[in-house]
Structure formats: structure tokens, C-alpha cells
Symmetry: C2
Subunit: 428 residues, 2 copies
Amino acid sequence: MLYQRYFEAAVSRLKDERRYRVFVHLERDVESFPLARWHRDDGSVQDVTVWCSNDYLGMGQHPEAISAMVETASRVGAGAGGTRNISGTSHAIVELERELADLHGKEAALVFTSGWISNLAAISTIADLLPNCLILSDASNHNSMIEGVKRSRAERKVFRHNDLAHLEELLIEAGDRPKLIVFESLYSMNGKIAPVKEIADLAERYGAMTYVDEVHAVGMYGPRGAGICERDGVMDRIDVIEGTLAKGFGATGGYVAGDALVIDAIRSYAGAFIFSTALPPPVAAAACASVRLLKRRSDLRAAHQRATHITKHALAAGGLPVLENGSHIVPVMVRDAELCKAASDLLLTRHHIYIQPINYPSVAKGSERLRVTPTPRHTQEHIAHLVEAMVGVWHTLGIPFVEPPSHLHVDEKSKEHCAYPEIKLAAQ
Amino acid sequence: MLYQRYFEAAVSRLKDERRYRVFVHLERDVESFPLARWHRDDGSVQDVTVWCSNDYLGMGQHPEAISAMVETASRVGAGAGGTRNISGTSHAIVELERELADLHGKEAALVFTSGWISNLAAISTIADLLPNCLILSDASNHNSMIEGVKRSRAERKVFRHNDLAHLEELLIEAGDRPKLIVFESLYSMNGKIAPVKEIADLAERYGAMTYVDEVHAVGMYGPRGAGICERDGVMDRIDVIEGTLAKGFGATGGYVAGDALVIDAIRSYAGAFIFSTALPPPVAAAACASVRLLKRRSDLRAAHQRATHITKHALAAGGLPVLENGSHIVPVMVRDAELCKAASDLLLTRHHIYIQPINYPSVAKGSERLRVTPTPRHTQEHIAHLVEAMVGVWHTLGIPFVEPPSHLHVDEKSKEHCAYPEIKLAAQ
């Protein structure tokens, strides 16, 4: 092939920097989640415990989501048949959009083929429709938001991660022009939660529109699972809420919710929406079933938080360097790309635990980590096994341990609601 | 809401230009395809015949595709659970990629969440990995290809639609630098087929890499349904073939196929791939079943071509201005945005036929059209009803008729293979 050397050089570069990624070939199983079958290269198959899934609540394996998908596929078929305009506006997608608008207390919602595309399409379209718009973007925003910001013709400024003073400074500096603040409610790689209320305050004070990415929060926070904005009582003060159907809701696709007018403008102007085949009705139906179910299932959210709490406590009690953050994401710090990859490999091959390494560019160099995501279906045995395995791997590879920080101790109140008995650590 | 006036102005602009789109709310039905239920705004429901679906072969409603989706959802769940790196490399997607690589006779394939994203991600990544690359892009390329071209940092030049002389001129002008020719094998809006062999000749002569979008051809052309490149015997002379799982294959998602090295580079560098949740296993399984089935079902391709041939002939015999193109897409020219929308509305409300209007920016102003897409499941009755309805609408609205051009007459050879008896036109 022509130009072979350029592609070779590009791939070699990643290998040299120890950030060439090898995908682990897995087969999920509704019966055994969070276990999955790992297909090795030699053709053999091994059960492994998945500890890094974004199917945070196990909704992808929930009977109601699956039966909605099965019933819809059997009745209307596997695909949408076209873009929304070309016969792709299915009954299932219309119902899903109603359900999502209701979830977020907004007039309208619009479904995309992925969360990545929601951000690309919605951010760039909104910014381009506001004359002389300035985008103010959090420094830790997800790749898809950065792509949306870059795709627009608008000027952009980046404010330091969750830094209200810096954001305010930029808002003042910007003066009267239209301003769009784009940020996440919960940052996936460090698990930190944004000061959503304070950002809404600033937006109101200085006249800016707000766009929040809630993909790591929808389904999991707030009384009906609408996310951090719902939990913090500020849903009505945020202009556009973007979410995903692929994580807490266990299916696939993304969406935005907001005033009917803004949603109509995005629907009418965003090429990525206009020119993409619609989400298949069976996928929309599965997502819709999840959203409906999670509106009333606070118990699943509580079980998720409990599993997280216990996991953090147990890992910290094992001396592992857990990054505290107040969310359901449990980053365990390695701070070295090669060790991080080696730890992931050892966990898989020796302990049959799957946690992929998080290296640059997902996180800054020197802040490499394993990102653990407990689900309500991780049992006390799973957690004990995880801690034992990680402690063993840390010893084997000589990764630094830390003393458990005191704020990670289980307090009396949360103990009361704890579904899991005290974790016994065989390795201790 | 802040900035309301800007969004109002944006939506009004579309309404003033008669290109504000209203989606038709449909419910498909595996039993009655190409019929679907139209949900009117008043809540009533009406059966309509869909004549504009991109589910060209009806594979979205095929029992093998549906049962693959149902079986996989029941066994492994509704969603992928994460990106390809975060436990999203499912067995179903690994199998699908093998099947697609085999289909196109390439070393590897990579699946994306949509065809739109495949083009955005693959074109921009390839161009950015080639130092000082010049992209040569066909003037009629799809929105997703244009977005991919624009997203890259590479310089680009546009060659006139299917114009080999112009392409050659630009290749000569470019000299020694890396060059990437991006084009479609079959253009969706006019149905024209690219001179793929001649483009491959030019690429070899002047040292350019080739990237072809086969989304409107995969499943439908070539002995095993690999598309126009297969039909024309040039599959091995094209570097990267992009396809969709959402049209001929009846599911959703997109893909690229090529040398393992190029595919690995795209996999490793394309943010839109890296940071998107993988296609759900049930969707991948449905697509995989379709691809496998269509490798051996030339009879479905033949039936599709017959339905197209008969539809074109019947419409032309009715005096309707059919744009000839040699493909399965049947554009019927209206050449006026308002009339085009009115024709579509009348077909739906009076005749219960759904064909959405194709107006600017999908086509140039003054070339507005109805884009008819026959499937193997449109019967002679459907075709007769279509022609009668369109002739009626043309009369009602005073849209110009034309004499049927002679090259649309059914020749003796194609008559032999014709599945449909002679169409009787009640309106004639």
C-alpha cells in the first residue's frame, strides 16, 4: 500500500509511548453479569469479573430493557430504515424523546446515535446560531465536547477544571456578547462533581447560556435518576442537558433536552443529526424501558452508591491509593503508564479481573490509573476478590501503597443502609 | 430563555425558505413492510406505503436479522457496556468485523456507531496521518465526508462531480505530495454511479490513496453484495472502503475496511471511535446475520433491481420526469421547493404514500425531487398505486410531465428476468 510508512510510524509512536491499546475480547452474559467470558487469542475462554463497565447499574442486562428490545425487534424489525426525515421517525423514538423531556423537566428532547455525536452536534450548532458567541469550556471536558467546541466557528476560552473564580473572570472579561458555558456534571476520569448550582448562579449573573453533559450521572443521581442537576435542584436553571442512553440506561445513543425552540433549532441545523440514520426502534425501546424503570427505582441507585462506598472503603483499607471524589467512580492511582498497563494485564491473566488501564490522552501523563466502577450487582465476594487481587498486583509490581485517608472510613449513617456485610480482606 | 430571539430567527429562516422539515411519525411492521402505520398528530393511525426507505432490501424486517438480534439481546443484554476499550469489544462486534473484512476482501474492518461517524473519523484521521496531504473530494460527496474532510488539517480541493478530467488535472497539479481521493461509489440523491475503475487508474498513475463511500451500494451490488467496487472488479485497487450497516444490511452503524495497518491506525487515533460506546452486541449480531445472508442471496439483489426497473419504467410510462442513472434510486424531478413539499404532503394525506421531499441543502435549489426507493417487497400493486397517485398529484399541482425517454423502455433481455407482470396504469 502507498504511504505504508506513515501509518507504520503512527502506530509505532503509540507503542513506543506505551499507549497502544489492545482490546479485550469479551462476551457478556445476562445470567452472570458482572462476569463475562474473555476470549483469549488462542481461542480459549475464561470467565472474568468486569470492574470497569459503564453499564453502571447493569441496566443493559435488566429483563425489562431486554424484553423491550426483543418485543420491538420482533414486531417492527431490527433497524430504523433511514434518517429521521427518511422514514426513521419511529414510534419508539418519539416515545423515548417524550420520556427524556419529562425526565429532565424540559419541553423537548432529541435523540442522537451516540453521546459523542450529541455533543459534537449540539454544542457546535448552538454556538454557531449565536452571533459572536464565546464558548467557555471546562479544561477537563470530554473529547466529544472539545470536538463540538472546535467544530463551531465561535471563539472559545477554557476555564480551569471546576474553577468558579476563573470562570467568573472570563465571564466578566467577555462583556455583553452571547456566551455559552459547556461543562460536565460528573467528570468520568477523576469522578469529580461540578459545582452546578454555582455555575448556574454565574451564568445568570453574567448572562450566559448553560450546556451540561450529564452522561456519567443520568440514571444514577437525583430522585428520578435525571442526574446531578436534579439532585442539586438546579435542573430548571440549566438550558441544555446532554445525556447518554449507553451508560446508566444500558443501551446506546445520546440526547439533549431543553426548551422546544432550542431543540428544534438543533434538529433543523445539525448535519450530524440530519444526515444520520435514526436509532433503531428496538434500541430506543430498550432505552425507554430503562428510563421509565429508573424513574421509580431509587433502590437501584442506593444499591449502586452502597456498592461504591464499600468498594472505596475496602480498597482504601487495603492501602490502595483511591482518589476521593464523592461519586460512583473509583480511580485507583498508579501514576505510570507502563505499570498501569502491567497492573491491568496481571489482574486479567492472574486474577481474572478486567479493568482497562487509563493512560494518556484520557488522563495527563503521570496520573495514570485504574478506574474501578462498582455496580449494584458486584457482591461482597466480588469486592473482597478485587481488593485481594489489587493488593497482590501492587506488591508484585512495586506500585506505591498509601495509608487509607480517614474520610474514606464508613460512617455510622451509611453503615445503616449498607447492603453488604463488613468486607473481610484475605490479603490483610 | 436567554438568546431566544436567535433561535427563533434561525427556525423562521428555514420556514421562510420552505425547508423547515416536519418528521412523519411512523411505526414499521415486520408483517406488512413496505407498509407502515402513520401516527397523525390527532392521534389517529393510518396505514401508508413507504416508498423512500433506505432499508433497500427490507433486511431490517428479515427473520434472520431479527432473530439474531433477539437471540443476542436475550443472551448477552441490550448494550455494549462501554467503549471498545472499556469492555465494549464484544464477541458480536469481533465476528462482524471479520465478516466485513471478508466481504470486501480486505485484511481488517472497523465498526463505528454510524456511517456518518465512519466518514468523519476515518477521512480526518487518514488525512492527518499523511504529512502535507492533499484531499481531493468529489463535489457531490455526502455531508459526513465533507465534515471528515473539513475536520482534518489537510488542504483540500474539490473536483467536479464524477469528472475524471478535472480530477486528473488536480492530481497533476498536486505533484509529489501525499494525496487522498475521497468519493462515493453511488450518489444517493441522483443515484449516479462513479467511474470507480477509472478513478483507481488515475490514483495508481499519480500515486494517490483512495477512499470510497459505498453506503448506498453495500448489500446490493456485486456477486456477494460488497458493492460497486466488487461489481466492477476493482475492490482490491481501492485502499479504504467505507460502508453502512443501516441501509442494505437493515441495522445501524458504519464501518471501514482496508489493510490491517490503516485500520489499526484509525482505531488508535480517531477520537470519535475511541471515545464512543461500542455498537450493542444485538445490533452487531443483526448486521452480521444480514451480511452473511446477503453474501449468498443474489436473488434478493436481482429482485431489487427488477423492482427498480419496473418502477422506473412505469413512472416514465406515466409521463413522470424520472432521472435516469443506472442505479436503484429513482429520483422524480419537481424542481421547486414548495411544489415538492406539497406533492409529498398530497401523496401522504390523499394517497397514503410516504415519500419525503428532497429540498435544499440535500440537493441544489431548482433540482428539488421526490426520491423513490423500490424494494424487493414492493409488489406490482404497490407500483401501480404509486404511479397512479403520482400522476394524480402532478395533475393536481400542475407539475410538468415529460415524455418517457426511450432508454427507459423495458428491453427484451430484462423482461425475461422480470418478476412483475406488465403494470397497468389505471390513471392512463
